[in-house]
Amino acid sequence: MSQTKVLLVDDEVEFTVSLAERLQLRNYSVQTANNALEALGLVYKNRPDVIILDLRIPGMDGIETLKTIKKYDPTIEVIMLTGHGDVHSVKEGMSSGAFEYIMKPVEIGELTSKIDKAQKKIKEG
């Protein structure tokens, strides 16, 4: 079974680096980006299966980034990451095509289970 390609987008470098390493230990192929432009570049260059996207990232609003990605390729599944209970943004994200959302700090089992569900959904088409 090929590795699920995950793109991790968050402005906290320390967070992305550590989480990426943990996901790699769990056999995911992980790329990281620390702003919206970097993330979009990686989506274009190396299409990921699942994107874990923080809603507050510099450069472009998380929701805008989500919409751009879904417009570019609707089959890429996005799991939103939010640091606080911004219900309004989460609702908007879900209606804009996000697969799931997860609150910070992330419980690794919950995250991998959501990544796997997303991957399963992609495979099932």
């Binding site: 320390e14 550590s18 510099p58 609003d61 640091g83 606080h84 609150m103 910070k104 700090p105 690794i108």
Partner: protein, 567 residues
């Protein structure tokens, strides 16, 4: 909440005085407005009524004078007619007989009391026969005025005079022509002045009143009460000879005033005079005045009572609505505070959750490595790096919690010595992350060495937070917000919060401090922030106003009074 309670007690304390003052002002105004017309009406009706009574009295007096005049005229006329009748009935020869004269005189006196004597005078003025108490037989009247008068007239009524008998009396004489002999004789009757006086004083006289008769030369024909005795000259009041009965007011001095009426008496050259100094008409107004006084007093009491009750109701309503408004405002303040705390909490959650997430991942990674490998030494350096990352994140959390504690602690403290620049910086600490995400540039131009001010730091920070939040919402990505502080004058610090956002149109600008007015989309704004900020600045003795130009940006100007010594 503590602040709100304190404000409420303050309000009630000064408020009760305010309502008392308002009540007194309304009562006084209403009393003046309702009582002035009442006093005017009462005064006018009092004088009007007095005038009516006086006019009425004067008319009555005129009527009485007229009556008295007529009875005097009738008295004279009657005697004159009787004498004429005697001259027609008896011949000169018959009446020259002393016995006959005595007989007629006795009968006459019986019918007409007041007749003193009776006599026949021949054409030469010699008394031919006489009946009466005096010895006047043979007396020659030819040189007397009345005899000269009778020669040319058919009858004559004399003024009162002393004559031979030295007692005041007047005479009625009737001439009888004897055409055959071309001569005449005169029948003369004298009448006691007291009889005349009786007629003159038959008019209704009160204590201070007087009535008498004078002749055209002002000589008293009857004895008066206060104006002299018979044959003295009457000077007090100028009588203008006139045929009509006249009633006039006179006012010669403070104690000598009243009404004088007079009437000319036909067929005698007399004037009947009544001088009325009593004022019975003044007594009636006394009664009227008492009634008027009680009616006025009752009206005043009623009016004041009604006014008082109405005012009480009105002021109570105002008070109630003021209290309701106060409660509503404090509720709004509270909910706004809650909203701003909610917003703050969301920001804080984000700020804390981010380092927590880092801690979580680093600790998780250490755990992952430990679970996957037993060679701790090999991973020692990696562990140290990860642990340092954890400590850094903990430190980040600590900063946030400290800042939050500092902010919330000041929420309830009022009037502490505050450095406005520090207050601004603390508020910016909460917002800078959001501004960073949205790529908003912040320009801080804080004047150094600003004097510290005694104010409520928490409230001032709430104002800054509200306005800078609005600025953040107003600007586009990549916009700019300038926050500056300076000293406006010796008493005031000025803080300008300027953005280059969408601006506010003039019609919206005038509403922005009104409660529940919002231009933000539904769910994003409560419409309370600016109205609360406005209220806070008023409470703290400062001001807040706004200048804005559409598409160019908005500037909020906050002025804070310096109420303590400079640093």
């Amino acid at each position: 909440m503590k602040n709100f309670l304190r404000l409420n007690t303050l309000f009630n304390k000064s408020g009760s005085d305010r309502y008392k003052g308002l009540k007194i002002r309304i009562v006084l105004l209403d009393a003046v407005l309702s009582l002035i017309p009442l006093f005017i009406v009462v005064t006018i009706s009092y004088f009007w009524f007095q005038q009516i009574l006086k006019d009425d009295f004067r008319n009555q007096l005129k009527w009485e004078i007229e009556n008295t005049k007529q009875s005097i005229e009738y008295f004279i006329e009657e005697r004159l007619s009787t004498i004429r009748f005697i001259t027609s009935t008896y011949t000169y020869e018959e009446l020259s007989d002393q016995k006959k004269v005595n007989d007629v005189f006795t009968k006459l006196k019986k019918e007409f009391p007041g007749i003193v004597d009776f006599g026949v005078i021949d054409a030469n003025g010699i008394q031919r026969s006489y009946a009466g108490p005096y010895r006047l037989l043979g007396v020659d009247y030819s040189s007397q005025n009345w005899f000269n008068e009778i020669v040319v007239r058919s009858s004559y009524i004399s003024d009162v005079f002393m004559g031979y008998r030295k007692i005041p009396h007047f005479a009625i004489a009737v001439k009888k022509e004897i055409p055959d002999k071309k001569t005449f004789w005169v029948l003369r009757v004298t009448i006691d002045v007291e009889t005349l006086k009786k007629y003159a004083t038959s008019i209704n006289l009160r204590e201070n009143d007087d009535a008498f008769i004078i002749n055209h030369n002002g000589i008293m024909q009857t004895t008066s009460r206060f104006h002299g005795t018979v044959l003295e000259t009457y000077k007090d009041f100028k009588i203008i000879p006139d045929e009509k009965t006249t009633v006039k007011d006179f006012n010669q001095s403070k104690n000598d005033c009243g009404i004088c009426g007079y009437a000319h008496i036909k067929n005698a050259s007399w004037i009947f005079v009544a001088v009325i100094k009593s004022t019975p008409y003044a007594k009636i107004p006394n009664i009227f005045r008492n009634e008027l006084f009680y009616i006025t007093l009752l009206s005043i009491l009623f009016s004041v009572a009604v006014t008082f009750m109405l005012t009480q109701t009105v002021v109570n309503r105002i008070k109630k609505s003021d209290q309701e408004r106060e409660v509503a405002i404090s509720e709004i303040e509270h909910s706004s505070k809650m909203a701003s705390i909610g917003r703050l909490a969301a920001g804080v959650a984000h700020e804390i959750n981010n380092p927590l997430a880092i801690i979580n991942e680093k600790a998780g990674l250490i755990k992952d490595i430990l679970e996957g490998s037993d060679n701790l030494q090999k991973n020692k350096d990696k562990f140290l790096v990860l642990l340092n990352g954890i400590f850094d994140s903990v430190s980040r959390c600590r900063t946030v919690t400290h800042r939050l504690l500092g902010f919330s602690r000041r929420m309830d403290i009022s009037h502490d010595l505050t450095n406005i620049n520090d207050a601004i910086k603390e508020v910016m600490g909460f917002l800078e992350k959001e501004m960073l995400y949205r790529n908003i540039k912040l320009e801080l131009n804080l004047k150094e060495n600003l004097p510290k001010v005694t104010t409520d730091k928490g409230q001032i920070q709430q104002v800054f937070l509200n306005i800078i939040n609005n600025a953040v919402d107003a600007v586009e990505e990549g916009g700019q917000i300038d926050v500056s502080s300076d000293i406006k004058d010796i008493n005031t610090i000025r803080v300008l919060i300027k953005d280059n956002g969408v601006g506010i149109s003039k019609d919206k600008l005038k509403h922005i401090f009104e409660p529940f007015y919002t231009t933000k989309e539904k769910g994003k704004g409560t419409g309370l922030g600016l109205s609360i900020s406005y209220g806070i600045m008023q409470k703290l003795g400062g001001t807040i106003h706004v200048e804005s130009e559409v598409y160019k940006g908005t500037t909020f100007i906050i002025e804070i009074p310096i109420t303590t010594e400079t640093l």
